[in-house]
Structures are given as structure tokens and as C-alpha cells.
């Protein structure tokens, strides 16, 4: 077991393309860190550099006290689980799991004891003599994990290990991974493009975009205090709503109406007076105005025509459109919109599409006007040029 330190790591390809730019990240011994970002953001490349499968162009990588830049993968004492599992098809499950120990020249009885132990943890006891081709997707996934566990390595590296499973199994395996990591207490780096996985699994989450680390924090910190537009839009499902905003004295002008700024927000956003900004509002910061009660003066009420209403039982999702107002361009918003093809559809400021999460007791109806309320204390304000969150206070 060991800590892993990435110090100013850069990956540059011969054609000059930089997949990872000046990445610095410290993973403590026994910590579970998630690397998350849209496809092509460099998260897998970063992981492969830690594994030794990809040479490091610049910077220093330390596992434990040792600098491992020049070490072969076999000398780094890390185990990796691949997206497509990469089980050896010509070996039985037992041989797959024992392969690493066999290469290390371990004792035969030692190998089978450790394999049996790992198989027991992963509930693979009955499948040890079968070939990978005879197993289901979930079982193959567990064998891949077993192959990593058996070695008792300094760290586990997981490259989107659950993305090949169907939705139901993925949720099940997610808790399994979490439990396993807690039980073994081994340092783990886990790469995923799924923000839900990132939020539910890790001790800390590192969000990457275009090869650059955006923010490293606990899931709640990322959710509540995203450092920039990208992190704000990427983390959370349904995604944060963005709309143009201007600060005028004590008020913020939003397409849905003017909001009186709470004191601490005013303090932080004070210098942005008059400039066009981008406001970010989480779906749950909205509420049916009829249900707000005493909190009413913390925000502002407005009416909107509910275009689509999704009743999820425990909550309602109301979709409506605001007047477009002036368009605000931001490269980060564009990237979020492009990534939205992958599933999570963020609401871009341009189109004025807003999603609000309402209490199921709400009497709001699809196709009708409704009075909604937005909580001003939960507002995020972003500088559209730099993408920085003016309200995160860092």
C-alpha cells in the first residue's frame, strides 16, 4: 500500500497533441480517488501513465517514496482493471486470477490459497475452473477485479470497469466496488465518465477537461462549490441550469425576474457590477411557490408555462423555457452541450431550457402556467469568459 503523487505530469504525443497538461494530484495511502470527465479529457491517459503503459513526457510520478517514471509496469506493483476486462481467454478463471502470482514465482499452494480467498470474496467459488467465455458479463467483471485483488498491490487502477455492464448490474457492482475498497483499504484510482459513479464512489473526485485538472474535492464540495462552469455543469443530474444574469446594485437580473442578493452573495459578486454574467441554478433550488411558505423572501417568485412534467414519485421534474435574453457564449458550455450526447443533458443558457425539481405535493400541471420560486441563497454566478465561479469563494 502506498500513496501516489503526480507532479506536473504532462503527456505529449509526437504530433504535439497534449492529452494531459501539467497535472498535479496527490492520492493518499488508502484513498479512493475518481478521475472523471467527458470522453477525450485525458483521464484514461493519466491512469495509463500511472500504470506504466504510457510513457510520461514531463513531470514526476511517485508511488510510495519511489519515483517510478522509468519503471516497467511490472515493477510498479499496481493492479489494473480494464474496461473490457482483458481476461486471458485461454486460461481458466483460476489461472487468470493466479497469473500474476505465478509470474512472480509464488508457491503453488500459496497461489491456490490466495485465489480461493479472492474468489470467495467475489462469490466466484463455483466458477474457478471455467473459461472466461462461459461467464456472464458481471462474472467476467468480478474475475477482472479478482485478478487485481489476489496480488495485494500497492494500488488499484480501474479504467471504467463498470461501463460494459447493463444499468441494473452497474448500480449493484458500484456498491460492490465501494465495499471492496473499504474492506481492503487499498489506494484506488478509478476512471469514469459517469458523474453518478464519481459522486457515489470516491473519497475525492478529480474532474478533468481537455487534459486539464479542473477541481479536486469531495463529492459534496464539488456539488455545492464547483470552481467553474464546467464542473458545475458536469456534476449533478439533472444538470445545473444556466441563464444570463447581470448584477445591478443589490439585485441580480435574471430572465425569470430580479432577485435580491443575500448579503454573502453580494459580497463575493460585488465587483462584477454591470457585467454580463452566467447564473447557475440547481434544479432543486426551484420550488412550487405555493409550497415555499416562510422561506419566500429568500428568493423570488415568477410564473412559467410548464412544458413537460415528469413525475418520478419522490419528486417532480418541471421543464420550462425562459425568454432567451442576450446569448452568452462560453467554450465550457459548448463542451458540456457536446458531451450531453452521452446522456446527461445539461441546459445551456442559449436555449433557455430550465429544469426544476419540485416537491411531489405540488399541484403544478403540464401545459399550464405555474408560479415557481427560486432560492437566491443557492445561486451560483460565473464569469462567462474565464468560467470561474464568483460565488464559490476560493
Amino acid at each position: 500500500m502506498a500513496d501516489i503523487k503526480l507532479e506536473h505530469i504532462t503527456k505529449r504525443y509526437p504530433d504535439g497533441y497534449e492529452a494531459v497538461k501539467d497535472m498535479t494530484l496527490e492520492i493518499r495511502d488508502g484513498e479512493f480517488v475518481i478521475l472523471v470527465g467527458p470522453s477525450g479529457c485525458g483521464k484514461s491517459t493519466a491512469l495509463r501513465m500511472v500504470a506504466g503503459l504510457e510513457p510520461i513526457s514531463e513531470g514526476e510520478l511517485k508511488i510510495g517514496a519511489q519515483t517510478v517514471n522509468e519503471l516497467e509496469p511490472k515493477d510498479r506493483d499496481v493492479a489494473m482493471v480494464f474496461q473490457n476486462y482483458a481476461l486471458y481467454p485461454h486460461m481458466s478463471v483460476r489461472d487468470n486470477m493466479g497469473f500474476a502470482l505465478k509470474l512472480r514465482g509464488a508457491d503453488q499452494s500459496d497461489i491456490s490459497r490466495k485465489v480461493d480467498e479472492a474468489a470467495h470474496i467475489l462469490d466466484l467459488d463455483e466458477h474457478l475452473e471455467r473459461k472466461p467465455s462461459q461467464l456472464s458479463g458481471g462474472q467476467r467483471q468480478r474475475v477482472a477485479m479478482g485478478r487485481a485483488i489476489v496480488r495485494d498491490p500497492a494500488a488499484f487502477l480501474m479504467d471504467e470497469p463498470l461501463s460494459n455492464l447493463d444499468a441494473k448490474l452497474r448500480v449493484q457492482m458500484r456498491t460492490e466496488v465501494s465495499r471492496l475498497q473499504q474492506r481492503l483499504g487499498t489506494t484506488m484510482i478509478y476512471v469514469t465518465h459517469d458523474q453518478t459513479e464519481a459522486m457515489t464512489l470516491g473519497d475525492r473526485v478529480a474532474v478533468m477537461r481537455a487534459g486539464v485538472l479542473q477541481q479536486v474535492a469531495t463529492p459534496m464540495e464539488l456539488y455545492n462549490r464547483p470552481r467553474n462552469i464546467f464542473v458545475a455543469g458536469f456534476i449533478g443530474s439533472p444538470a445545473m441550469n444556466f441563464m444570463p444574469a447581470t448584477v445591478e446594485g443589490e439585485h441580480i437580473k435574471l430572465p425569470v425576474g430580479d432577485v435580491r442578493m443575500p448579503p454573502e452573495l453580494r459580497e463575493r459578486a460585488g465587483r462584477a457590477d454591470g457585467r454580463p454574467l452566467l447564473a447557475g441554478i440547481r434544479p432543486e433550488s426551484f420550488e412550487d411557490a405555493a409550497l415555499v411558505g416562510d422561506a419566500r423572501d429568500r428568493g423570488c417568485s415568477f410564473t412559467a408555462k410548464i412544458e413537460v412534467l415528469e413525475a418520478m414519485g419522490s419528486e417532480l421534474y418541471a421543464h420550462f423555457t425562459t425568454e432567451a435574453g442576450e446569448r452568452i457564449e462560453s467554450p465550457e458550455l459548448q463542451e458540456l452541450a457536446a458531451d450531453a450526447g452521452a446522456g446527461e443533458v445539461p441546459n445551456t443558457g442559449d436555449e433557455g431550457q430550465i429544469t426544476a425539481r419540485l416537491d411531489p405535493a405540488s399541484k403544478v400541471r403540464q401545459g399550464e402556467e405555474a408560479e415557481l420560486w427560486v432560492d437566491a441563497t443557492k445561486l451560483h454566478l460565473f464569469d462567462p469568459e474565464s468560467g470561474r465561479n464568483l460565488t464559490a469563494g476560493d
Binding site: L53, P73, M80, N84, A86
Partner: protein, 275 residues
């Protein structure tokens, strides 16, 4: 046309093709079982069934020596072709370097080369260096002609093996060579069998280089040896013994192909990755 008529027509066509292809082999076996004046008869079955030809060729030391030479030369050629070919094929499949396509094209173009083009220069070179008329002397030129196809077949098989399997082995603690030997090679079984079989058959059937580079029964493989066949008695027409010898050298090939047929077809990589 009804389905039935179409079926009959198809079977007639199949039978026609099979007879056309296999009749010469049948005639070969037929002839090998005849002796004496029967050899001149055109009967479809031997009038007096006899295995004399077979017993006489195995009593002939020239034939048994030729058989031994053929086995050694073909086996050595195959083993060398597979070892060199798998390294070269692996490099072509995995490494990125300039002019890779050009290199592969040049390697493959060697197979279109007529062996007669190098027969004479090789004869001169081999007599000068003293490996003329030796078994060892046959292997390098044979390799030159079997390697291109071996490399090509193995490279295409290696390319099909997911890179992650090797990477998994590397992270599991294998060196590059261990990953190659314990993961890539076992998974390329069908490719190795196909390539090996083709080299073996090529070497086994080779005539031109074999007759050019050998002069005595000590080094001469079967195909040229058949040309020097005289039969057991001096003035006998050696047709019976030649056909018997031909049957003897054909049968191992047929058996080899039949045995490995299933392995060539089998998809060994099933279950390697999600699919």
C-alpha cells in the same frame, strides 16, 4: 424450377466437381496396387490386388532416406519459419514505424518470385561454401519462400488480439517477452497452425530447389528422389513403385490437414473481451 430439381442439380454439380478433382488421386492409388503387366491395363480396379510396390519401396534405402530427409527439412523449415515469422509478424502487428506497409509489400512480393531465378546462383554459392548436397543447405532457401506468407498470416492474427490482453499481462508482472509467449502466442494457435501447415506443405512439395541443391540420396528429399526412381529390378517400368511412393508421401499431408482443420477454424479468442 422446383426446390427438388434444384437440389438434384446441385448434387450433380457437386459430384461432378469431386470426381474431376479426386479422380487423378484415385488413379494414383489404383496404379500403385497393380504389378507387372496389369500396369498397362486400364481397368478401374486392380485385376490382381497387390501390395508388392509398397513393400518394395520400403526395402529401397533410397526411398527411406529421402523420406527421412523430407521430414527433417520440412519440420526444420516449419519450426524456423514459425519462430522467425512470429517475431517479425508481432513487430509488424504492434510496432509503429515508417514504411511499414512498404516493408510488408516487399516481403509479400518475394512469394511471386520464380524459384528458378535463384536456383543457379544458389547452386554456385552452395558449392563454394560447402553446404551443397546437405540437408542444412536446403533450409535457408526454403525459409526464404515460406517466411513471407508465415509473417503475413501471423501478423494478421496478432493484430486481432486485443492490446489490452498484453497490457493486462504487463501490469500483472510480465515482461514484454513473457506477455508475448504466454498470452499472444497461445491465443494465436489457429494462426500458428495455419502458417505452420502451409510452410510444411510447401517444403514437403518443393522440387526445383531440392533437385538443384542436392546430388546424392544422403540429402535428397522425396520429390527429386522420385525422379531418380528405378524400381526394385533394373529393367522394370517403375510406374508401380513411383505411384506407391507418391501415395506414401501424400497421405501424411492429407492426415495433417484433416487433423488441424478444426483448429484452424476454431475461434480461440471467444470470451477475451466483452463481445
Amino acid at each position: 424450377m422446383g426446390d427438388r430439381a434444384r437440389g438434384i442439380l446441385m448434387w450433380l454439380a457437386v459430384v461432378g466437381v469431386v470426381v474431376f478433382c479426386l479422380f487423378p488421386f484415385y488413379w494414383l492409388i489404383n496404379t500403385s496396387l497393380k504389378t507387372g503387366s496389369d500396369l498397362n491395363s486400364a481397368s478401374l480396379v486392380p485385376p490382381n490386388l497387390s501390395f508388392d510396390n509398397y513393400t518394395s519401396i520400403f526395402e529401397d534405402s533410397n526411398f527411406t532416406k529421402a523420406l527421412r530427409n523430407s521430414i527433417i527439412v520440412s519440420a526444420m523449415t516449419t519450426v524456423c519459419a514459425l519462430i522467425v515469422g512470429s517475431f517479425a509478424g508481432y513487430a509488424l502487428a504492434r510496432l509503429r514505424f515508417r514504411f511499414k506497409f512498404l516493408l510488408l509489400a516487399i516481403i509479400l512480393s518475394i512469394t511471386t518470385f520464380p524459384p528458378i531465378a535463384i536456383a543457379a546462383p544458389l547452386f554456385k554459392l552452395w558449392t563454394d561454401t560447402g553446404i551443397y548436397d546437405t540437408i542444412v543447405g536446403l533450409i535457408p532457401p526454403f525459409l526464404a519462400f515460406t517466411l513471407p506468407l508465415t509473417i503475413y498470416i501471423l501478423a494478421s492474427f496478432f493484430k486481432e488480439i486485443p492490446r489490452e490482453l498484453e497490457e493486462a499481462a504487463l501490469v500483472d508482472g510480465a515482461t514484454r517477452f513473457q506477455a508475448f509467449r504466454r498470452v499472444v502466442v497461445p491465443l494465436s494457435g489457429p494462426g500458428l497452425v495455419t502458417a505452420g501447415l502451409l510452410s510444411f506443405i510447401w517444403a514437403w512439395n518443393e522440387f526445383l530447389l531440392a533437385i538443384t541443391l542436392t546430388s546424392s540420396p544422403n540429402a535428397r528429399p522425396v520429390p527429386p528422389a522420385l525422379a531418380f526412381f528405378t524400381g526394385s529390378q533394373k529393367f522394370e517400368v517403375p510406374l508401380g513403385t513411383i505411384t506407391a511412393a507418391t501415395v506414401v508421401v501424400t497421405v501424411p499431408l492429407v492426415i495433417l490437414v484433416l487433423v488441424f482443420q478444426r483448429r484452424i477454424v476454431a475461434g480461440l479468442t471467444a470470451g477475451a473481451v466483452k463481445g
